[in-house]
């Protein structure tokens, strides 16, 4: 069953409002408006929907942290559509193919927390999605799904599309808020959490595109149904998985949460290309630890991937093959993270460029004996709890796991004074 993507047209063009309504669209909103906000939040909490942006926090639980005692207090709802995690291309599919599903999910969420303003924070590169969302917003407003007194319920919501101007940091929840306020996208201290003090100091919920897109289906069909879509009831729903790299059929698929990495790569992605062998994979974007051959039968749900020493992240897998240099691979990642560090805190600002330089030297045959210790030191010094936000700890995940699983490759670079794969960086 593919509730999120089953109706998306093969050519990827967006479902119009009429088409969406014909498939039952906006019935979930009607149902939600007949429930109390509290009942909506509880249903979503019970569904075990976990945030699809990468952190995997229970969505309904997050909503329940919004203070609801003052009904007149202004609140904001934001969709994080800044999909910039390298290797990740799942939200694009939903944004381009079914913008109304996203809007309906956002409307229901806004009702649950009684928000009066909503934003879609969309990355610069998604031009087709921007067009589709603008059309969908206008259609929804004309039909009375958006604006004042929605469907006669007394609930009102205004919704805006904000298109970004670059920087990976904008995907970090609190940095996104700063960006929407016209500031540099640097992270904020937590607490207070955005649920209490977010955009312009008001209670704010930020969720990912795929997360919101699940919500109408949970309200229509119930929490138990949503859990039953998954192979692991702890992590409800389907998941949009993706695979890129040297496989036969790179792509994205909506599948039951918890299918194995092996099924994903061998069945859905058609296995490795002829002449290439599987060496490892980042299970959920650039900021996740490598999984290797021994992990192929790990179910791709939040808990199981964590138990295997990594994170499900965005669920979009980047495959490392046996003809690609793991040191060069990790260098590319650290180059990205060093470039995208916002410079707000010292370990990240100074440590990531240092890491990149060491990896560059290794790849070019200029590595030194203590370089691997230096890299390991960075993996500690930039780890969780040592920096302002999750960027640097995320950057260290592929590095520390590469040092563990591909250590011989690193050592070979030092001892042979060249990249054994014949690769150099300029």
């Amino acid at each position: 069953m593919k509730p999120l993507t089953g109706h998306i047209k093969a050519d990827g063009t967006p479902l119009t409002l009429a088409e969406y309504e014909q498939l039952g669209g906006y019935q979930a909103l009607r149902k939600a408006l007949r429930m109390s906000p509290q009942e909506v939040t509880t249903e979503v909490k019970n569904s075990n929907l976990k945030g699809r942006g990468g952190a995997g926090f229970n969505t309904g639980m997050k909503w329940s942290f919004v203070p609801m005692d003052d009904p007149s207090a202004e609140k904001y709802l934001i969709c994080n559509a800044d999909e910039m995690e390298p290797g990740t291309f799942k939200d694009r599919w939903l944004l381009e193919g079914n913008p109304h599903q996203l809007l309906e999910g956002m409307l229901i969420a806004a009702y649950a927390i009684q928000a009066s303003e909503g934003y879609v924070f969309l990355r610069y590169a998604y031009k087709t999605a921007a067009k589709g969302i603008r059309v969908a917003l206008a259609e929804a407003e004309r039909a009375g799904y958006l604006g004042s007194n929605i469907l006669g319920s007394g609930f009102s919501l205004r919704m805006h599309l904000h298109t970004g101007v670059g920087r990976y940091m904008c995907g970090e929840e609190t940095a996104l808020l700063n960006s929407l306020e016209g500031k540099r996208a640097t992270p904020r201290a937590k607490p207070p959490f955005p649920q209490v003090s977010g955009l312009f100091g008001k209670p704010t919920i930020v969720n990912n595109v795929e997360t919101f897109s699940c919500v109408p289906h949970i309200i229509s069909n119930g929490a138990a149904w949503f859990q039953s879509l998954s192979k692991n009831p702890q992590d409800g729903g389907t998941k949009i998985y993706g695979v890129s790299g040297k496989v036969n059929r790179p792509g994205a698929w909506e599948l039951p949460m918890g299918i194995t990495l092996r099924e994903l790569i061998e069945e859905h992605a058609g296995g490795m290309r002829s002449g290439y062998r599987f060496r490892g994979a980042l299970p959920g974007g650039a900021s996740t630890d490598f999984l290797v051959e021994e992990h192929l039968d790990v179910p791709m749900d939040y808990g199981s991937v964590a138990a295997a020493g990594s994170r499900l992240g965005t669920g979009t897998v980047v495959v490392l093959d046996d003809r690609t240099c793991p040191v060069g691979f990790v260098h590319n990642l650290e180059h990205f993270f060093a470039q995208e560090s916002c410079g707000w805190c010292t370990p990240c600002r100074e440590g990531l460029p240092w890491t990149e330089k060491i990896l560059r030297a290794l790849e070019n045959g200029e590595g030194r004996e203590n370089d691997l210790d230096l890299l390991a030191m960075h993996a500690q010094a930039l780890g969780p709890g040592k920096t302002f936000c999750a960027l640097a700890p995320g950057a260290m995940e592929p590095l520390q796991s590469a040092l563990n699983y591909f250590r011989k490759d690193f050592e070979q670079h030092i001892h042979e004074k060249k990249c054994p794969y014949g690769h150099t960086l300029h």
């Binding site: 694009r92 670059g166 306020e181 980047v318 691979f329």
Partner: protein, 154 residues
């Protein structure tokens, strides 16, 4: 000086925000849409209009890599240099593209046609390598396709 159209567009943004500086990024986008880039003079004019210190607005402008504080060509090429594209042939594509254009990253061709910029992940990793020119996305790009792609913009 800001044009009437620019002022009108900035005013529309100001209507939706509780404090003026919150419209800063949108105002910079408006200037860039009309003028191609944000000069020091434009930046000072926008800052004055939003009652911000120019340095403060510049700290915002220079944070975002797609606000251009230098003149750019008529077309912007964003070449994805992130991991999936790197695995699938970014380096060869990048060197061929720079050779054909006769410029490096951050530079503009002598005829003012193209500015070439590296860009983190374009979010089309199942069709790597990828690049964007203005609003157009090109996927599964091989070096052999470059002449035809670039030809559309000359």
């Amino acid at each position: 000086m800001l044009s009437e159209v620019e002022i009108e567009e900035i005013n529309q943004e100001l209507a939706g925000v509780p404090v003026k500086e919150a419209a800063g990024i949108e105002a910079l986008k408006i200037i860039q849409r009309h003028r191609g880039w944000v000069s020091d003079e434009s930046l000072r004019d926008v800052a004055a209009y939003l009652q911000m210190a120019p340095e403060e607005l510049d700290s915002v402008a220079t944070f975002y890599n797609l606000i251009f504080r230098q003149p750019v060509g008529r077309h912007i090429i964003l070449l994805c240099d992130s991991i999936s594209c790197w695995v699938m042939g970014y380096e060869q594509l990048s060197s061929q593209l720079r050779q054909k254009l006769g410029i490096g990253f951050g530079q503009t061709t002598a005829d003012g046609c193209f500015t070439l910029l590296p860009n983190p992940c374009l979010g089309t990793c199942d069709h790597a390598p990828a690049l964007m020119i203005d609003n157009d996305l090109y996927r599964d790009v091989s070096p052999e396709m470059l002449d035809e792609i670039l030809g559309k913009y000359k």
